[in-house]
């Protein structure tokens, strides 16, 4: 038995409090058979680390041939993306602009609606309504993205065409709105968690000072949960950037650096799908380009996710 094991009474850091069995486990003797089980389980846990390494390795290694042909200055300097034409341009900005456009539209839809849902469910809804609303939001979150894509193309686009004459079949607006609808449940459930984590004493103090319900919610609860709400926004935006089927079906396949939502555009994800569903031969520059685009996509979403996790950790420590 290890002599350096800390005694349960002294110096418990907050992390150990979360893992109540920690101290207990350190006192347990392991037979060789038990050790074997431990290492086998540990090996399984390593699979997730290997997955990350695998993704990074595949994206980097497979995009090396691409960057040997296309200089980084062209990749980040050009504003045209025309791999299928005879005169090929590989300027990632055209795809980034399309992704950005869809993401911004989806954020405009999802962030206010998601936050409002979170506030309503967490602060206003009576118990019975809460029990109906939460599962239906979960069902909304469970709808496959290809179904949303069908909905965007066959329902939302014709609906928008009734209001905006001359709107094409493929446009960023319809795709963006539906991506927004898709991420509402994510914003709602993560923001609701943040609101629930606000100590009750803060709300009660606001009431004691004579605040009405709306004043307590808007001036106390929401600001107190601010970093959690921000984290939910960032994660939802990251999800919107990586969304694939809705934009493939509804946003079109014409990469262009535009900020006009009625135009047909192409996102990074939609380009990857377009190339891989066609019969582009392996080893061609077009085929190699999907790995380069995948790398950019991976890095952007990874940066956002790490940022969101940082923000979340920050707010967990506050109370």
């Amino acid at each position: 038995m290890s002599t350096s094991a800390p005694t349960p009474t002294e110096e418990r850091d907050p992390k150990a409090a979360e893992r109540p069995a920690e101290d207990l486990r350190q006192q347990v003797y392991d037979s060789p058979k038990e050790k074997l089980i431990k290492y086998a389980l540990g090996a399984c846990a390593l699979v997730s680390v290997l997955t990350t390494l695998g993704i990074a390795a595949v994206l980097v290694i497979e995009s090396i041939p691409f960057f040997q042909t296309v200089a980084l200055t062209e990749f980040f300097g050009d504003t045209q993306w025309t791999p299928q034409f005879s005169e090929k341009h590989f300027g990632i900005w055209a795809l980034l602009a399309g992704t950005l456009l869809v993401t911004v539209i989806s954020a405009i839809v999802a962030l206010p609606v998601g936050l409002a849902s979170a506030i309503f469910i967490s602060e206003y809804a009576p118990r019975w309504l809460r029990k109906t609303l939460k599962p239906s939001l979960e069902l909304l979150a469970g709808v496959p993205t290809v179904v949303y894509g069908y909905f965007a193309l066959t329902f939302v686009t014709p609906l928008l065409q009734a209001f905006i004459p001359g709107l094409g079949v493929y446009n960023a607006l319809s795709a963006g709105i539906v991506v927004g609808i898709m991420i509402i449940p994510m914003v709602a459930s993560l923001s609701e968690d943040a609101l629930q984590a606000v100590p009750d004493s803060l709300t009660k103090a606001a009431y004691a000072l004579g605040a009405t319900k709306y004043e307590a919610v808007v001036r106390v609860n929401v600001p107190a949960a601010f970093s959690g709400i921000m984290a939910s926004f960032i994660l939802a935006v990251s999800r919107a950037i990586g969304e694939t089927m809705i934009v493939t079906l509804a946003a079109g396949a014409t990469p262009k650096a535009t900020l006009d939502p009625t135009q047909s555009i192409q996102t990074m994800t939609a380009f990857i799908v377009q190339v891989s569903k066609g019969d582009t031969p392996q080893g061609t520059i077009v085929y190699q380009s999907i790995f380069a685009v995948g790398l950019v996509l991976f890095l952007i979403t990874l940066a956002l996710n790490i940022f969101a996790n940082r923000v979340t950790l920050h707010y967990q420590e506050e109370y």
Binding site: A16, E18, P20, A21, E22, L24, R25, V28, D30, E34, I37, K38, A40, L41, G42, C44, A45, S48, V49, T51, T52, I55, V58, S117, F120, I121, Y124, L133, L137, E138, L139, L140, G142, V143, P144, T145, V146, V147, G149, Y150, T154, F155, I184, A188, E215, G242, E243, T244, M245, T248, T269, V273, S276, L297, F298, T301, L302, L304, N305, A308
Partner: protein, 295 residues
């Protein structure tokens, strides 16, 4: 006439109350927006699907002619995928979570794995498709097979299974472990005969939700090269395949309006499958939550 301080308080108070009422109304409308969209989507799909949904649709293979087309191979492909994915991802995910919660000691290694899993959960599914294409289809030479698809989907849902299993394990009171150790149980005996059975409902719920995510995924399957026209049923894990989402994507992307109806009909089948799974998970969770609250 100058209003008395009391009257001014009354007007301000009723105005503050009114603002609150309006806000509550707006919040309620925003909340039911999601529900309204969900209902609209379902009604729209069912309406378009009605002329196409019949026994022939389920029993036929895909066809160039909309009247003869069906989803038999796609349905079987999806069920195969789900089965294989469950076989790969559930043991791996539960074992990882057990290691992280019950064995690993707090330190940089545990934190690294935790951060890693949180980040993996946020990687876009199309990137998993690229990984599957390079690693399983080409490097491991599995080809465009069910196994390659199931391995890719397994990696995709592994973080979800691990996270939900960890939560289930964390909710088991440490008194259970203490009493089992006190009776002389070894580490594995404590986990296998006490902790895991108690956490089983929670784990099961997480697994169902993860699998329902896997069954609806389209992009990774397109990336690894799932076929769109498969006039045969898969006989083994190394056969080529198609799946319901692939078929829906293919039919939706076609310009002819008949195929739109077929896509809607396939969506109805997929959604029935998904709603059954989701509902099972939600009911299961509510049931056990209430039972736990009761004790």
């Amino acid at each position: 006439m100058e209003p008395s301080p009391n009257g001014s308080f009354q007007t301000r108070r009723s105005r503050r109350k009114r603002v609150g009422m309006i806000l509550a109304g707006i919040l309620f409308l925003a909340t039911i927006f999601g529900v309204v969209v969900l209902i609209t989507l379902l009604v729209d799909v069912i309406f378009s699907a009605r002329p196409w949904l019949d026994g022939q649709f389920i029993q036929s293979f895909p066809s160039r002619f909309p009247e003869e087309a069906g989803i038999k191979s796609a349905l079987f492909g999806s069920l195969w995928l789900m089965g294989l994915t469950a076989l790969i991802s559930v043991p791996l995910g539960v074992a990882s979570a057990v290691y992280l919660e019950e064995y690993a000691q707090d330190g940089w290694f545990l934190r690294l794995i935790q951060i890693n899993i949180a980040n993996l959960a946020g990687v876009p599914s199309v990137v998993y498709g690229i990984l599957g294409l390079s690693l399983f289809v080409r490097f491991a030479a599995l080809g465009q097979s069910l196994l390659a698809g199931a391995l890719t989907l397994s990696l995709l849902i592994l973080p979800i299974i691990i996270i939900s299993t960890q939560e289930a394990l964390r909710s088991i009171p440490s008194g259970i472990r203490e009493s089992a150790y006190a009776l002389g149980g070894t580490r594995w005996q404590v986990i296998y005969s006490h902790v895991l059975p108690m956490a089983a409902p929670g784990i099961f719920t997480g697994v169902i939700l993860a699998l329902s995510r896997a069954i609806g995924e389209t992009a990774p399957l397109i990336l690894i090269g799932a076929l769109t026209f498969v006039p045969f049923l898969p006989q083994g894990a190394l056969d080529q395949f198609t799946a319901l989402p692939i078929q829906i994507f293919n039919w939706t992307a076609r310009p002819q309006s008949e195929f739109e109806g077929l896509a809607a009909a396939a969506i109805v089948i997929l959604m029935i499958l998904l709603f059954t799974m989701n509902l099972t998970a939600i009911l299961l969770r509510n049931y056990f939550e209430e039972r736990r609250a009761g004790t």
